[in-house]
């Protein structure tokens, strides 16, 4: 096994709010190998975005704070890195793509200049070299007429093209890792297909590792190598992609998969997970899914389940062994 490019250990993130402390991330550990595509799947409030933002100190602090944890990137702990060093990593060796490109692009600067800025910040390129590289990047992400588009402002581009510009900026400095937070959620389905296609080309051409954060189990099915399922600020299941869909083991993962209608199948009654998402203001004392789980028994309320490896790379955090139909020992 190769050394991971990013290794996150026991991350805990909290937010202090007037209503109390929000327990956003509760002990998350995972690793990302070079060139690996990982999908982080969860619903709103599951902690999937906060986990990634915490790593790069992108959460507002205060009210947010990291109680514990480390994120090792190239031998250094990102969480303890000082602001200047971290700025060199962010946007340089670790690229970012957010859900809404309109809010992450500067509306009064041309897109070309925004790419050039990023290049000049993180490399020693001259202005001329950076401009040439920016044009090349715009072409790489599949925008026609790069030299014309360079001079456009973000509002002059469509949503899909703006997201391509974000990809170009993220790619600008040949990053080792790209973190993409719901990059296609705001886009139409035909444009989503274009962007996914673009990412698949990136993998072939550059070997960049990608963390793809999404609420949609269908989007990552054809794209990633590994899936991490989050619920209530914890990882409840982690597995190689094929294994997860063929043999889901956490009741939440199973419920999610069954509640998805499928384009390729006829209508049948949709399975629905009863109840509501957990209240993150409460300190978790047991499994956060227990109130909605049909298998929950007394241990689930009092003891937080630890992840157990059931087959190579497939870990599940659940007290109930579904396949055996008995509590896990």
């Amino acid at each position: 096994m190769t050394a991971p490019v990013l290794d996150v250990r026991d991350l805990w993130t909290r937010f202090k709010t007037p209503d109390g402390i929000v327990h956003a991330v509760n002990g998350v550990s995972f690793s990302l190998e070079p060139g690996q595509f990982v999908g982080v799947v969860g619903e709103s409030g599951s902690g999937k975005s906060v986990t990634m933002m915490s790593l790069l100190q992108l959460i507002p602090m205060p009210p947010g704070y990291i109680e514990n944890g480390e994120a090792i990137f190239d031998g250094q702990n990102l969480i303890e890195m000082d602001a200047d060093d971290l700025r060199n990593v962010r946007g340089g060796r670790i690229g970012f793509i957010f859900q809404d490109p309109m809010t992450s692009l500067n509306p009064v600067i041309t897109v070309g200049k925004q790419i050039v800025e990023s290049l000049r910040r993180h490399t020693t390129m001259s202005k001329k070299e950076a401009t040439a590289r920016a044009e090349e990047l715009i072409e790489i992400v599949g925008i026609p007429e790069p030299s014309v588009r360079m001079k456009n402002y973000p509002h002059e581009l469509s949503g899909g093209m703006r997201q391509r510009v974000m990809i170009a900026i993220a790619l600008a400095c040949n990053p080792e890792v790209i973190i993409a937070d719901e990059p296609t959620t705001a886009l139409d389905v035909t444009v989503q297909a274009q962007i996914i296609d673009q990412f698949q080309k990136l993998r072939e051409d550059f070997g960049t590792a990608v963390v793809w954060i999404t609420h949609d189990l269908a989007v990552v099915a054809g794209l990633v190598d590994k899936v991490i399922v989050m619920y209530g600020g914890r990882i409840v299941e982690e597995s190689p992609v094929n294994d997860l869909y063929a043999r889901p083991l956490h009741p939440y993962t199973i419920g999610l998969l069954k509640s998805l209608p499928r384009l390729d199948q006829k209508g049948h009654e949709l399975y629905s997970i009863d109840g509501q998402p957990p209240n993150m203001l409460k300190e978790p004392t047991g499994c956060s899914f227990a109130p909605r789980c049909e298998h929950a028994f007394d241990r689930c309320w009092g003891e937080i389940p630890e992840p157990v490896e059931v087959s190579v790379g497939h870990r599940v955090a659940c007290h109930w062994d579904l396949e055996a139909g008995a509590p896990r020992d």
């Binding site: 619903e43 709103s44 469509s158 899909g160 093209m161 139409d188 389905v189 035909t190 444009v191 989503q192 297909a193 274009q194 996914i196 296609d197 609420h215 949609d216 189990l217 269908a218 989007v219 099915a221 054809g222 794209l223 992609v241 094929n242 869909y245 063929a246 419920g255 999610l256 998969l257 509640s259 998805l260 209608p261 499928r262 384009l263 390729d264 006829k266 209508g267 009654e269 949709l270 399975y271 629905s272 997970i273 009863d274 509501q276 998402p277």
Partner: protein
Amino acid sequence: MTDTMPASAADGTGEAEVLVEVRGLARHFPIKKGIVKRTVGHVQAVDDVSFEIHRGETLGLVGESGSGKTTTGRVVLRLDDPTAGSIMYDGQDLAQMSQGQLRGLRPRMQTIFQDPHASLNPRMTVGSIIGEPLVEHTKMNKAQRQERIDELLLLVGMHPTHANRYPHEFSGGQRQRIGIARAIALNPEFIVCDEPIAALDVSIQAQVVNLLEELQDELGLTYLFISHDLSMVRHISDRVAVMYLGRIVELGPVDDLYERPLHPYTQALHSAVPVPDPVIESIRERVILEGDVPSPANPPSGCRFRTRCPLAEHRCEAEQPEWREAAPGHWVACHFAEAGQHQIGTGEPGD
């Protein structure tokens, strides 16, 4: 759902009773410029759209952003005024009615909106939100209203004690249930559901869709279900209409349309929707459409899809494709729909 429908409604042969019949519907928004606000053009949000909705069925209306599906829903209920066309509702033309005349019909037609945060008044209790239509349109006294509110809350899977609380105390899924309770308060027969689940988490979407289906069975409701989610539309609809840039390009019984799509746009849409199964995803062939949807202020001549269509020829530029019935109940507007059941991406005309 499909198996509980009368056969005629489900297979779209038109024998079922028609509740809503839309003919040649258009809604153009003027583009104004300058100090005197001169009209310099029109955004053709909806243009020459015709369809019918049978009593008791769910007609799915799918399309991408800017396709005109929401505008269509609004105009059908006369929440917005059509530029042209007729909307026959149970024998009366809504397009010709004044708002005063429409008021008498309002209790029969309702709508459920996308965003349960924006569509509920934050200063009203849940009880008064659900009770408001009862005050407006019925002669019920307070006790009768209270009884009806309790009944409605139970019907949508909530508890009567919730009536005294405020919307912000509820999660998105519960708020959408409140919106549904308000919509069914007056025993409507027709409900336009405009992206009712788009703002909800996946595990909550299924709850709301199941509720909509149960209510349809119990109350005999007719739905126009507007959504960009093709998988959910397949699940809930009896028949489906596909919109592109203000026009309906294809309409047919749900299984027919999903298993044998005739319009290249429908085919491309289907191929773009990911399936939650990595094995299928790895072997499936995708059609990636080039470019973006053109501006509805200046739509392409002829067939509006031609700028992105892999089959497009000269004819598509010159001639608007005729809206015709290619198979029983299955309508399409494409010059090549009959040229064999070709699928785009397999090398038939235009490649």
